[in-house]
């Protein structure tokens, strides 16, 4: 049982069910605010720049990027992993906190899941654009063909990637959409606009909310969640295998799967924190996303940050302990010291040191600082991928081939474009979809809001 005396009041403001519906749906009924238009304009601009990057890459060639014979993966893969990592928060929230019976997830999971969808979509663009012959990209699917038939290489982590990412995108979308159906029905029944009634009527699939419907709904949600839970672990494990299955020093380590999964959750929670702080500010959702919520995320981040720090240290230890000179060179002479010192220490600082500030309650309570730290985490996680991809490739086995890598304007454009895409997606989500899971909040509302519940005991 949720003990409000111990855990604090989850939803503040003594809300009734009607208040919840009203509060959450209100932003959707309001006139589109100015900040929305401004941000959407900026996001669209960024997206268009990204489209230019795409066009330039496809029409001219991957040569427009800063890659070379040695460093054949660059920003595209860094950003891919970064986005995928961010995309882990939604499902992680929904599933793990569900399993752990964390009631406070209800105010956040909708937004987190939406973020997942858009982040995975942004991530999915990178493997596409990064192909040399995007027009032949369908070769990657093992479809029946007249070449023998010729199938794919099922040993390739990239194939696993394709399977895992598409499964993940599908599963998280399904899960996310399932959760929204009752809320769409709520909007459908509340709204006075005929247009909205029609649209949300279609979106709600004819939800009526009777007992049997709710039972099946809950069971299905639980099943989908249950299946998605191992997926959360496996997807980023598989992404990590892109690296760990290879022979490249600094990639070829068994620590990668757990390290990546944790890293993904870390970056995902970081991004959730960033977004939720913005959301509660803009939509005045302080009653739903309370300081307590943020505090909880911050605590988790502190914990994960410690794991990350351990992983970094383990890597260094293993490089030394394995006696592998290539590995040792990569870590000691190309990361800790050497050409990529800056990237390595940025990563370490942002991921392992800065989140330790959350040990202090004062800092956890200061939303501005929390916001800034969450941004640092996002940056740190980006650098982590940068360190992994670039440093390992640039100086690998044969010194004669060593080469450095610098991104070009096209690569930057593509990255900014995906930021735009993500932002635009989030904006649409803010505007047209209930940003907090209404029915889920309601279902935990009673036991978590009023202090009565335990005084009665």
């Amino acid at each position: 049982m949720y003990n409000t005396r111990v855990r604090g009041v989850l939803i503040k403001g003594n809300k009734s069910f009607a208040d919840v519906s009203r509060d959450i749906i209100k932003p959707m009924d309001d006139k589109t605010p100015m900040w929305w238009w401004v941000t959407a304009f900026l996001a669209t601009g960024a997206l268009f720049w990204g489209v230019w990057g795409f066009y330039n890459t496809i029409s001219t060639g991957i040569g427009e990027w800063g890659l070379n014979n040695n460093v054949a993966w660059g920003w595209a893969i860094i950003n891919f992993v970064w986005w995928i990592g961010i995309g882990h928060a939604g499902t992680a929230f929904s599933i793990f906190l569900l399993i752990l019976r964390q009631k406070w997830r209800t105010s956040i999971n909708r937004a987190a899941e939406a973020m997942t969808i858009f982040a995975v979509m942004a991530a999915g663009l990178f493997p596409l654009i990064h192909m040399g012959r995007i027009w032949d990209g369908f070769f990657i699917f093992p479809y029946w063909n007249t070449r023998g038939p010729l199938w794919d290489n099922f040993n390739s982590p990239l194939f696993w990637d394709v399977v895992a990412i598409s499964t993940y995108l599908m599963a998280s979308f399904v899960f996310w959409y399932m959760g929204m159906i009752p809320d769409f029905a709520t909007i459908r029944e509340r709204t006075t606009s005929k247009m909205k009634k029609k649209i949300y009527g279609i979106l709600s699939f004819g939800w009526i909310g009777n007992a049997r419907g709710w039972l099946r709904f809950e069971t299905a949600a639980l099943l989908l969640g249950g299946m998605a839970a191992p997926l959360v672990v496996s997807v980023h494990s598989i992404v990590s295998m892109d690296f760990s299955v290879s022979v490249v020093p600094g990639w070829h380590t068994t620590i990668f799967p757990p390290y990546f999964v944790i890293g993904a959750i870390f970056s995902g929670f970081g991004m959730v924190l960033t977004l939720m702080i913005i959301l509660r500010k803009l939509y005045k959702f302080k009653d739903y996303v309370t300081d307590g919520h943020l505090d909880a995320i911050a605590r988790i981040l502190t914990f994960i940050s410690l794991i990350m720090g351990t992983a970094y240290l383990t890597e260094l230890f293993m490089a030394w302990y394995s006696g592998n000179e290539y590995e040792l060179f990569t870590f000691m002479k190309n990361r800790v010291t050497g050409e990529y010192t800056f990237a390595y220490w940025t990563m370490l600082t942002c991921n392992a040191f800065i989140p330790q500030l959350f040990w202090f309650k004062k800092i956890r309570k200061n939303i501005t600082i929390v916001f800034i730290i969450s941004i640092f985490i996002n940056i740190g996680m980006w650098f982590e991928r940068y360190v992994i991809v670039v440093t390992s490739l640039s100086k690998d086995f044969l010194p004669a081939t060593w080469a450095t890598y610098e991104p070009t304007i096209t690569e930057i454009a593509i990255f900014v474009g995906t930021l735009g895409l993500f932002l635009l997606g989030v904006l649409m989500f803010f505007r047209f979809v209930p940003t907090v899971a209404i029915s889920e909040v309601k279902s935990v509302l009673k036991e978590t809001t009023t202090l009565k519940s335990f005084t009665d005991e």
Partner: protein, 171 residues
């Protein structure tokens, strides 16, 4: 068939659950309950069950077997190609089988849910009490032909007694 229902509307989940108990004790057959949130108490009291988990299990089982057969056939039988000195039938299959099983399970569970619920995009529905999607809980009691006026009265009073804020009769 007479479709008239007596509907008791409640505004609190606990009150509703108590009401259900009381109604059932008094032999009132409850046809359905509409609520804005899922209530386990309701499922228990109405003795509702679902076989969705079994379906999911079957999908998963079919998924894992067919994916393995496909992988084995393509890389060992149909067009065996040698990759990096590995045997044709490799451990890599496990990863793909694992993920694709989830894929198959998720997708088909999702579809099964909608098929069972007969839900589809654009389905037109008319709710007896639209507020049940917001903050009201509605108990539907079918007004059977056999019901006498007394019975109806009893139901009405029971509803009232258990804290219904409103009682309605609908087609």
């Amino acid at each position: 068939m007479n479709n008239r229902n007596i509907i008791g509307i409640y505004d609190d989940q606990d009150v509703l659950l108590n009401a259900l108990d009381e109604l059932q004790e008094n032999g009132v057959k409850i046809k359905d309950v509409y609520s804005p949130i899922p209530l386990h108490g309701v499922f228990e009291r109405l003795h509702l069950k679902t076989r969705l988990p079994y379906a999911t299990f079957i999908y998963g089982a079919i998924g894992v077997v067919s994916v393995f057969l496909f992988l084995y056939w393509t890389s060992v039988v149909s067009y065996p190609l040698k990759f990096g000195g590995k045997p044709l039938n490799t451990l890599s299959f496990i990863i793909i089988m694992f993920v694709l099983t989830i894929f198959v399970g998720t997708l088909f569970t999702f579809l099964t849910y909608f098929i069972r619920e007969k839900m589809f995009p654009g389905k037109q529905v008319e709710l007896p009490i639209p507020e049940t999607t917001n903050d009201k809980f509605a108990v539907l009691i079918e007004k059977e032909v056999t019901m006498t006026e007394d019975d109806l009265k009893k139901v009405n009073s029971l509803l009232q007694k258990t804290g219904a804020v409103e009682i309605k009769e609908t087609e």
